[in-house]
């Protein structure tokens, strides 16, 4: 049997050429992207972070056509920029060229959250133990991604760091399996917590500070076709010096918060409301505060052990 060719096995110059010319086809969860870019930083990070993904045939249809192009032509010679093109049209303001990879990840999120309305899409991390899904909705700065990255390396399967895809047909949560975005202090915290984790290059001085992406472990990618049922909704909050605490939350309030954090709740209409209520009704809901990752991991172990 021939071993499948993966992006990580392509030579970097070949991958860069694909990105510059025909476009690189990248499948993440249920979506296929055709990516184009002349930016070398993007080629290096894609190879590092999506290295275990298969090289797809050029005839594979793409859901999204995305380019991280150069900015204005004269900018190639002075403070080079990058900008996002979706279906050939510019979206968003240009950014410094060094931010090209971060812009790619943000743009991929935007493509999905703005167009994939076969899902109710909630701004939340989602992981699983067995077939039990754990949803972590939280605003920026709450420690969601740090917690998500740590759980990914503590026996939980990563489905997504940013976008929870709730299937509108049956309510199951679909894996997206994209790298976890870590910012500022959490970069060092996770490097120390998970020394075997694979990271991309740090993008400095973005609007969110320093950003780095952590690759999805290969064994999680192998389960990308395995959706789960939501079992817990946990609202994490990192508080320096706080004791680890898991407090039950009313389900009705969880529905309201998830609806507020959803990108397309209004678009889904009454079916979205019913789907969200069904999802939450099957879950235990909690507010979770923590300051120590090791204690947080123990707390989630206890949670998982009671899943039945």
């Amino acid at each position: 049997m021939t071993e499948a060719l993966t992006l990580g096995k392509l030579r970097l110059p070949d991958l860069a050429t694909l990105l510059r010319e025909d476009g690189l086809l990248l499948r993440t969860g249920p979506f296929t992207f055709r990516l184009r870019s002349p930016h070398a930083v993007l080629a290096r990070n894609v190879r590092q972070l999506y290295g275990t993904m298969p090289v797809l045939a050029a005839s594979t249809p793409a859901d999204f056509d995305l380019a991280i192009a150069d900015g204005a032509p004269w900018r190639r010679f002075w403070r080079r920029q990058c900008r996002c093109e979706f279906d050939g049209k510019s979206v968003f303001e240009p950014l410094p060229a060094a931010h090209a990879y971060a812009l790619l990840e943000w743009s991929m999120n935007w493509c999905i959250s703005s167009h994939a309305h076969q899902y109710l899409i909630v701004h939340a991390a989602v992981l699983a133990r067995g077939d039990h899904g754990l949803i972590l909705p939280a605003p920026p700065g709450s420690g969601k991604s740090t917690l998500c990255a740590a759980l990914t390396h503590h026996g939980w399967r990563l489905l997504s760091d940013e976008l929870t895809l709730v299937d509108m047909q049956d309510g199951r949560l679909w894996p997206l399996c994209r790298p976890v975005s870590l910012k500022n202090d959490s970069i060092a915290v996770i490097r120390q917590f998970a020394p075997r984790a694979v990271f991309g290059e740090v993008t400095h001085d973005t609007a969110k500070g320093d950003v780095v992406h952590m690759a999805v472990p290969e064994e999680h990618l192998l389960q990308v076709q395995r959706p789960v049922r939501a079992r817990w909704v946990v609202y994490p909050r990192y508080l320096a010096g706080a004791a680890t605490q898991l407090v039950a939350r009313q389900r009705a309030s969880a529905v309201l918060d998830l609806a507020r954090n959803a990108f397309n709740f209004h678009f889904q209409g009454p079916e979205g409301f019913e789907r969200l209520c069904d999802l939450v009704e099957a879950c235990d809901c909690y507010d979770f505060s923590y300051s120590q990752l090791s204690e947080a991991m123990s707390c989630f172990d206890v949670l998982a052990s009671g899943a039945g």
Binding site: Q250, R251, A252, S253, V255, L256, A259, F265, H266, G269, P270, F273, E274, C277, V280, E281
Partner: protein
């Protein structure tokens, strides 16, 4: 004058009870909220047809069998104004 304004639901409602709390969703505007017993009663009566704050205050008094405080109509009007802002109800007069 605002007491004379008649309000109507902007669309059908969906109700779900989770752990004893009523969640209500407006199909027209997409607005969703946790309804307390007064919200629930007022929305139910608005489902019977357009009503003013005065009409609703009277129905509330009859249904509860209690003497309502003098500012009850104002309180109901404030709820209706907030619902108008969030797309739960439309104004029928004027």
């Amino acid at each position: 004058m605002s007491q004379q304004v008649h309000y109507a639901l902007s669309g059908p409602l969906r109700w779900r009870n989770l752990d004893g709390q009523w969640l209500v969703h407006c199909c027209a505007s997409g607005a969703t909220m946790v309804a307390d017993p007064v919200d629930a009663a007022l929305l139910e009566w608005l489902g019977d047809g357009p009503a003013s704050a005065a009409d609703l205050a009277l129905r509330l008094e009859v249904a509860s069998g209690a003497q309502m405080p003098p500012d009850s109509q104002q309180g109901i009007d404030e709820r209706l104004q907030a619902w108008l802002q969030h797309g739960w109800v439309d104004v029928m007069d004027d």
